[in-house]
């Protein structure tokens, strides 16, 4: 007589297993199949296409009633199994008990629900089964949904609902979407295409609580920062946990999942398990490919055949129409690993291959995933790719072909190929211009307008020059910023503005950075440019700043820091001096008076920074930004208030300027001076901006220097009132901030653009006003005391060691 086999869970894994088993030996077992869902097997992966309206439920059913009937499988659908007694070999369902000879547990996993306040409100659901899918489909147009979780599942849910006209917000705690499968660059592209579908994506967003409408139904999600995202449905797609409760209660060995050996047998020889509920060699599973392998092995084990389950490399694809994405293997950097990166900004294509020695171990593809399967094969088979390394990234079609030569590629373009998209210039026009005598980029730009707008095609135009002129053409050497890009600072600044790039990821991707996330040379520059151009959109990245700006103190040669409170216009009070003295004593600091009319406290330990700041804050002082690429000091003399020669209140003007400008970020440090008369006691004529007060008003000079170069200021303008003096100064600094190369002081920048251009621009009252407004807008976001923020306990923690293992050792 056939043995009795009970299967718990009619999911994807057990469905495949039953096919193998019954095909091989139709009569070996007398089978009963339990399923908590009121239905048999369907293709769970296809729920997303059902949600998106691309498929119907009927199309994704894999085993219908007729299938089970024809094979004599007894189905107990809609009935949950409550207990397994392995000693008596009995399974108890909601409708009664049943004995078994062999038992297969395939209970899958349960979606994880974050226990946020309000998680039990109506309208808060996971994304796992047909019921969930139907709830999302029912929402429809005009309603709002919030999805917590920017992984595979969350994004498929988002895209599916958005396709039905629902307004969707995705809230993701990490810095980029699908961080487990994608690197930042690919995550950025994905985010971009989702945004184009109307989905709002909030990264680095922490959910705080789910708000009720007062009638037990969800109304909104509230984030940590107080933002409220209203919604009619809230979907949590934050991860899954193996469903191990049955196995655990039955006394089977369970870690994260039900432990199985290579034959899919649990710690009880008559109980087998497979699918997402199991753990094999320390791993648990969340994708179907390995489950299908398990299904085959388990069926063979049930038939007494020797088979072994082996874990393989996995690949992920996102089933969202219009977002082509593929990721396989291991793409983290690690010992001896190398990256090959390919970016085609225009087509939105990004590919990254990770090699270890001569083996491909990981691949991330976005936009063009056609070669995914091929790469996946190379990863799985650990193929030696040494021979084709050069052309590997171009895929299988390229192997054995000639090595790619960019010059040859351009030479092969037809005459009507469009080169400059902005101005609609094609290759033929450029060639004609060159043949008619345009011998360099500037001349080609002047005659054809090619590359004269956004500049992305500059490289192509140069290649055409090269191909047309042959050896007569020498590629110009605009200094690239660093090894990560061929762009110069000037090009980068222009492209950030013209292409509206608002994040570092956008810059790396759209402008074809060759490194993963820049280097110590370009990242601070990129961070500054983004901050200067998009103060409201871009969030400052402290990790892209030099240590001084990150720690808001100057690092000294022995690793200690110096701390310098602001002294507005060089003024202080006895109270402030006493507080400074006390702080110096408390933290063992050396006291030095600086050239910029301030007091420097040297030799403070990093751990003590938050405390000394708190003390100085308490005495009313803020950071002097003595470390920043930003406003440093405004040096003043005593002026008309005290001096017998003084013509104006130079101290007062200095203080007013400092209060307006402090806390701003600029391409390099900026120092000001205001002297009360031409005797110039504040040495204003060698500052970045120096004002000399005279009887008739104020003489404003700019672009002075007293560092590696010494240079007198050049006269920008003479004005009558203090108000005008402030406006011109602010506008000049804003102009500098919007145009200069990172780490160029104003004198270098003015030398490049010419003082005449600066004067002309600022002389236009409307333009000057606009610059002042943009400066003030920036200050509304960034003018705040960094000390106060970092003296708070949560931030201060970062200044202490993460752990101290020496203490325990001493015990």
């Amino acid at each position: 007589m056939a043995q009795k086999l009970i299967v718990i869970g009619a999911g994807m894994a057990s469905g495949r297993m039953l096919e193998h088993l019954i095909d091989a030996a139709p009569d070996a077992y007398d089978i009963t199949l339990f399923n908590a869902e009121p239905r048999g097997n369907y293709n769970r992966l296809m729920l997303s296409p059902v949600l998106a309206g691309e498929k119907t439920y009927a199309e994704i059913v894999t085993h219908d009633d007729a299938w089970y009937a024809a094979r004599g499988v007894t189905c107990r659908f809609g009935e949950k199994v409550l207990r397994v007694d392995t000693a008596a070999r009995i399974v108890t369902g909601e409708q009664g008990a049943l004995p078994y000879d062999k038992l297969v547990i395939a209970t899958g996993s349960s979606p994880f629900i974050i226990p946020l306040p309000g998680h039990d409100l109506q309208g808060v659901i996971p994304y796992r089964d047909l019921e969930d899918t139907e709830a999302m489909m029912a929402l429809g147009a005009g309603k709002r949904a919030v999805i917590i979780g920017g992984g595979l599942l969350g994004l498929e849910a988002a895209a599916g609902m958005a396709a039905r006209g629902t307004e969707v917000d995705v809230v993701h705690i990490m810095g980029h979407l699908m961080e487990r499968q994608l690197d930042e660059a690919a995550g950025y592209l994905l985010r971009r295409s989702l945004t184009q579908k109307g989905i709002r994506v909030h990264c680095k967003a922490n959910s705080k609580q789910i708000l009720s409408d007062g009638k037990g139904h969800v109304r909104a999600l509230q984030l940590d920062d107080g933002t409220e995202l209203p919604c009619d449905l809230l979907v949590m797609a934050v991860g899954i946990r193996p469903s191990t409760a049955l196995g655990k209660a039955a006394g089977l060995e369970v870690n994260r999942g039900i432990v199985v050996n290579d034959q899919m047998v649990t710690s009880d020889p008559d109980v087998l398990a497979l699918g997402e509920c199991v753990e094999h060699a320390g791993a648990i599973f969340g994708l179907v490919a390995p489950l299908y392998d398990q299904a085959k092995v388990l069926a063979q084990t049930l038939l007494g055949q020797k088979a072994t389950f082996v874990q393989k490399e996995l690949a992920t694809k996102l089933k969202v129409t219009g977002c082509d994405l593929f990721s396989a293997g291991d793409f983290a950097e690690g010992e001896g690993r190398e990256d090959i990166v390919f970016r085609d900004p225009a087509r939105g294509v990004y590919k990254r291959l990770i090699l270890e020695g001569n083996r491909l171990i990981g691949a991330v593809l976005y936009g063009d995933t056609g070669d995914g399967a091929w790469f996946h094969g190379l990863i799985k088979d650990a193929t030696d790719v040494g021979e084709m390394r050069e052309t590997l990234i171009f895929g299988p079609a390229y192997q054995g072909g000639p090595a790619a030569d960019p010059m040859a590629a351009v030479a092969a373009l037809p005459r009507d190929a469009e080169i400059c998209g902005c101005n609609g210039v094609c290759k033929g026009q450029i060639e004609d211009a060159i043949n008619a005598g345009a011998g360099d980029l500037g001349a080609v730009r002047a005659r054809t307008k090619a590359s004269a707008s956004c500049g992305t095609c500059t490289g192509l135009v140069e290649q055409i020059l090269g191909a047309t002129l042959g050896d007569a053409f020498v590629l110009p050497t605009a200094q690239p910023i660093c090894g990560c890009t061929d762009l110069s600072h000037e090009d980068l600044r222009r492209l950030i503005k013209s292409q509206e790039l608002k994040s570092q990821e956008a810059v790396w991707q759209e402008l074809g950075w060759t490194s993963r996330n820049g280097c110590h040379v370009c990242r601070p520059a990129v961070n500054f440019y983004l901050l200067a151009d998009w103060p409201l959109d871009y969030v400052d990245d402290p990790q892209s700043r030099f240590v001084n700006e990150r720690n808001h103190a100057n690092i000294q040669k022995d690793g200690t820091y110096s701390v310098m409170p602001r002294m507005w216009g060089g003024m202080t009070t006895p109270q402030e001096l006493m507080a400074i003295a006390r702080a110096a004593e408390t933290y063992g600091a050396t006291v030095k008076v600086t050239g910029g009319q301030r007091i420097d406290l040297l030799g403070v330990r990093k751990e003590d920074l938050p405390a000394i700041w708190a003390d100085l804050n308490a005495a009313g002082m803020v950071s002097g930004h003595a470390y920043s690429k930003g406003l440093r000091t405004v040096k003043t003399c005593v002026g008309s208030e005290w001096c017998r020669f003084g013509t104006q209140d130079s101290t007062g003007l200095g203080i007013a300027l400092e209060r307006r400008l402090w806390g701003s970020w600029t391409p390099h440090k900026v120092k000001l001076g205001v002297s009360g008369c031409p005797r110039n006691c504040a040495e204003a004529t060698c500052k970045d901006v120096g004002i000399v007060c005279v009887d008739s008003g104020f003489q404003i000079g700019v672009a002075g220097a007293a560092g590696m170069d010494v240079k007198e200021t050049e006269r920008l303008v003479d004005v009558r009132t203090e108000e005008e003096a402030i406006d011109w100064t602010v506008a000049f600094i804003q102009l500098y901030r919007e145009h200069a190369k990172y780490l160029d002081r104003p004198y270098k920048w003015v030398a490049k653009v010419g003082l005449d251009w600066v004067k002309e621009t600022l002389a236009d009252a409307a333009e000057r006003q606009a610059l002042v407004e943009r400066f003030d807008l920036f200050q509304s976001v960034y003018q705040k005391d960094p000390w106060a923020e970092r003296a708070k306990p949560e931030a201060a923690r970062r200044f202490h060691p993460l752990a101290d293992l020496t203490l325990e050792a001493a015990e």
Binding site: A332, E333, G334, C519, V547, P801
Partner: protein, 110 residues
């Protein structure tokens, strides 16, 4: 190996570092990507610059004092500079950072 739990990955800023005091001196724990950490000596072989304060890029760190660059995988100085920092085994388990206690001179793990 004896793995010691020294904290959660989110205690380290992305592309940043934190220090751990150990019997062999200060060890810097670098976080280079969402879920990738490295452990290495904090002292630059050039003039002892605190590497945990450097800019972290790709799998490398740049010393804040004179810009030597070190590969965090191998500890080797990059480019023309010659030198090496000690690296230590570290791994992640469910977001927790585990540092090898033996390698940093701790005899018994708590």
């Amino acid at each position: 190996m004896s793995w010691i739990d020294i904290g959660h990955i989110d205690d380290i800023p992305l592309r940043g570092a934190r220090l751990v005091k150990t019997p062999v001196g200060c060890v810097a724990i670098f976080r280079t990507a969402e879920a990738e950490v490295f452990a290495a000596s904090n002292a630059c072989p050039h003039k002892a610059g605190p590497l945990s304060e450097g800019i972290v890029h790709g799998g490398k760190v740049t010393c804040p004092l004179h810009n030597w660059v070190f590969d965090l995988n191998t500890g080797e100085a990059q480019g023309a500079d010659e030198g090496r920092i000690a690296t230590y085994p570290v791994r992640l388990d469910a977001g927790r950072i585990l540092l090898d206690g033996h390698a940093v001179g701790k005899r018994s793990a708590a």
